[in-house]
Amino acid sequence: MLAPLPKETVYEARERSRRASRRLLLLLVVLYVVFFNMLAFVAALALAVGAPDHGTQVLGAVSRYIARHFWSLNGLLSLCGAFVAFLHYQMARSRELDSLLSIVKAAPADPKDEYHARFINIVHEAEAATGIRPIRAVVLASTGSNTFSMADGEGRAAIGATEGLLSRLDRQELSAVVAHEAAHLVHEDSSLATTVASLTAPFEATAASMKAALEHRPRAYGRHRGGVGLAAFLVWLVASLQVLVMRLLAMALSRGREYMADAAAVRMCKDPLALAEALGKISRRHRGALDIPQSFNSLFILNPDIFRLDEHSGVVAEVFSTHPPIAERIRRLLAWARAELPAGEKSEARAREGPPAPEPRDYYVKKDGEWAGPYTPSQMLALGLLSPRAWIVNPDKEMKRAADEPTLLPLLHERVAGRVAGRACPRCKVSLVAAKYEGAPVLRCAFCHGYLLPAGVLERVLTRDDRAFSREEIETARLWRARAQERDVLLKEGDASLVCPLCQSIMIASFHTQLTRVVVDRCRNPECRALWCDGGELETMQIILAETAREAEGGRQRERP
C-alpha cells in the first residue's frame, strides 16, 4: 500500500532512520553472537565425533565439559563475537571517503564541462536542502546510467553519477535523482550498508577458508582427516548459511531504504513525475553494467549488476534483490503525482479508460525555440516533444506548461509508466503508447496506428464488439475480404522480419486465420507470443469476423422456414 508522503523535517527523517538502524544493528549483533556460538559448537562437536580412536571418549568428555561450563563458555564466545563485530564496525567506519571513491573509480566532476557544471550546481542545491556540506560531486567514466551516494564515518559525503546519466537527463530529472541520493545521505544509509557488509565479512572468510581446506588439503591431516574433513564441512555449511542470512537481511534493509529515499526526494524537490521519468530513462535506455564490488551495490540508485530478478515481482525476486522493482517504485511516484492533481483532473485521468475518443488536433509545442504543430497529443508524445516542462499551446490558444494541461497530464503519466516497459513501434521506431482497445490493454503507435497485443489479447478483442467502426474501416475490410476470397493474397516473401518490441525476438509473419487472411506478425519467443497488427489490420479482422458471423446467422435463419 502506498505510504503517505512523509511530512517530516530533515531532522525527523534522520532521527527516524537512525532509530530503525539502531534496531537493526542490535538485531545483527544478537545474530552475530548466536552465529559465533553455533560455529564454535559445531566445530567442537564435529572434531570430537570425527576423532577415530577415542571418539566416544572424547565426545563424552566434550559434552560433559560443555554441559558443566555451558554459561561461561557461551558468555566467552558471545564476547568474542561482539568484539569481532565491533572491530569490523570500527574498520568499516574508519575507511575514508577517498579510498571508498577510488574503489568505484570515481573522479571529481570537471567544472569546465557544461554537463558537469550543471551537476555540480545541483549537488550544491542538495547541500542547501539537506544542510550536509560539503557534498562532493563525482563522476564515473561510464556510458551507463546510474547514480550513487557515499559517506564515511567522519561524515564526508559524495554524490556520484555516470557520464551517461549526466548527458541523458534534463535538469529536473537530474535534480530529482540527486535529491534521492541526498536523501540517502540524510538517512545515513551508505555507512549502514558498509557496516552490514563488513559484519558479513568474517563469516564469508570462514566459509571460504573451510572450502579451501576441503578442496586442497584433505591428506595433510593424516589419520585424523576424517574428523577434520567432517568438521570443516560442517563449519563451512553453517558459515555459508549464516552468510546467506546476513545478505538477505542486508538486502531487505536496502530495499526499504530505497523507498524511503524516493519519498524524501519527492518531499525535497516536489516533483514525483521528474523522478519517475528519470527512473524510467535510467532503466529503459542503456543502463549499463558497472564493475563495482558486490557489497557496494546497494549504494546505487539502480542495481549496477544487471540482475534479472530485479525487475520481476514475487517473493523470490523480492527477497533476493537489493533494489525494489522499478515498476513498483514508479507506480508509487505516479500515485503521489496523481494525488497532487486537483479532483477534476483525476476523473479526467480515469475517463481515458473508455473507448478511444477522437483526439483534438490543434496542439502546438515549442521545439528548439520554434513552434511546431498542429499535432494531436499522442503525436507529440510519440515524437518526443512532450515533457512535463515543455511549453504548449492548447486548442483554446492558451499557452502553458504541458504538465498544467489537464488533457496532457495523463499522457505524461502513461509515458513514464510506458517507458519502463519501454517499447518502440517495430515499423516507425517511435515509442508505443499504452492504450485500451475495447477494454483490453494494448500498445499503440500514434503514427501508423498499429497495435501491439500481448499474448491472448487478440482473442479477447475479437470476442468483444464495444467499438463502432467508421464507414471507411468497413469499406477497407470488405475490400480485403473480397481480395482474400479470390486467393489474391499471398504472404510476401523476403520482407524484413520485425523485431518484437517486448522481448526483441524475431516476429514471424503469418495469416491470422484462413478466413480473414490478414497477415499479422507473431513473436517467435514461446514465452512472449506478442502480436503486431499494422494500422487497420485489427479493425479489418474484427469486421470480417463480425460480418461472417452475421452472414452465417442470416444463412441459418434463411435455411430455417
Partner: protein, 186 residues
C-alpha cells in the same frame, strides 16, 4: 538513618536535575548554532544572486526588448535590498527579485538568440541554480528552526530555555511571487 536516606534521595534528585539541565542547555546551544548557520547560508545565496544581477542585465538587455521593464524593476529591487536598513524591508525586496527572476527565466525560452548565446546559457543555469538554492536553504532554515522551536517550547525543556534566555525564532516566509504568465508569440 532516615535522615541519611532523605539526604541521599535529595542529593541524587538534585544531581539528576542538574545533569538534565546541562544536557538540554547544550542541545539548545547546538540547535541555535544550526539555526544561525543555516540563516547565514541563505545570506550567502542571496549575495551570490545579487552579484549575478549586473551580469544578467548586461547580457540580456540587448535581446529581451519586451522585458525592459522587468529588468529595470530587478535592478531597482536589488538596490533596495542592498540599501535596506532592516530585515523585513530587505526580505521584501529579495522576495520581489525572486518573483521577477522567475518571470525572466520563464520567458527566457522565447528568445532563440539567447539560447544560442553561450554566456547567456551559463547565466541561465547559474540563475536557476541560485534560485533553487535560495528556496532550498529557506526550507532547510525552516526545518532547523522548527527543530529548535520545538525544544524551546516543549515541557520541561521550556523551563531550561526560559532560564537561560533562549527564545523562539521566527520562520522565514516569503509571499509567493505571482506566477509569471508568458505571452504567446508565433
Amino acid at each position: 538513618m532516615g535522615f541519611i536516606i532523605t539526604l541521599a534521595v535529595l542529593v541524587g534528585g538534585a544531581v539528576v536535575v542538574v545533569l538534565y539541565v546541562i544536557a538540554v542547555y547544550n542541545k539548545l546551544v547546538g540547535y541555535r548554532v544550526e539555526v544561525d548557520n543555516s540563516w547565514s547560508q541563505i545570506d550567502v545565496q542571496l549575495k551570490r544572486r545579487s552579484d549575478l544581477i549586473p551580469n544578467l542585465v548586461e547580457t540580456v538587455k540587448g535581446y529581451m526588448q519586451h522585458e525592459r521593464g522587468t529588468l529595470e524593476a530587478v535592478v531597482a529591487a536589488r538596490a533596495r535590498a542592498t540599501g535596506a536598513t532592516n530585515l523585513p524591508e530587505r526580505m521584501k525586496a529579495e522576495g520581489e527579485i525572486s518573483g521577477l527572476l522567475g518571470r525572466l527565466l520563464a520567458v527566457w525560452e522565447n528568445y532563440p538568440d539567447l539560447k544560442a548565446n553561450q554566456n547567456a546559457m551559463q547565466l541561465q543555469e547559474e540563475l536557476t541554480s541560485t534560485e533553487n538554492r535560495i528556496s532550498y536553504s529557506r526550507g532547510h532554515y525552516n526545518d532547523v528552526t522548527a527543530n529548535y522551536n520545538t525544544l524551546v517550547q516543549r515541557f520541561p525543556s521550556n523551563i531550561v530555555a526560559g532560564m537561560t534566555g533562549f527564545s523562539v525564532r521566527p520562520y522565514f516566509q516569503i509571499a509567493e511571487a505571482e506566477k509569471a504568465v508568458p505571452q504567446v508569440k508565433f
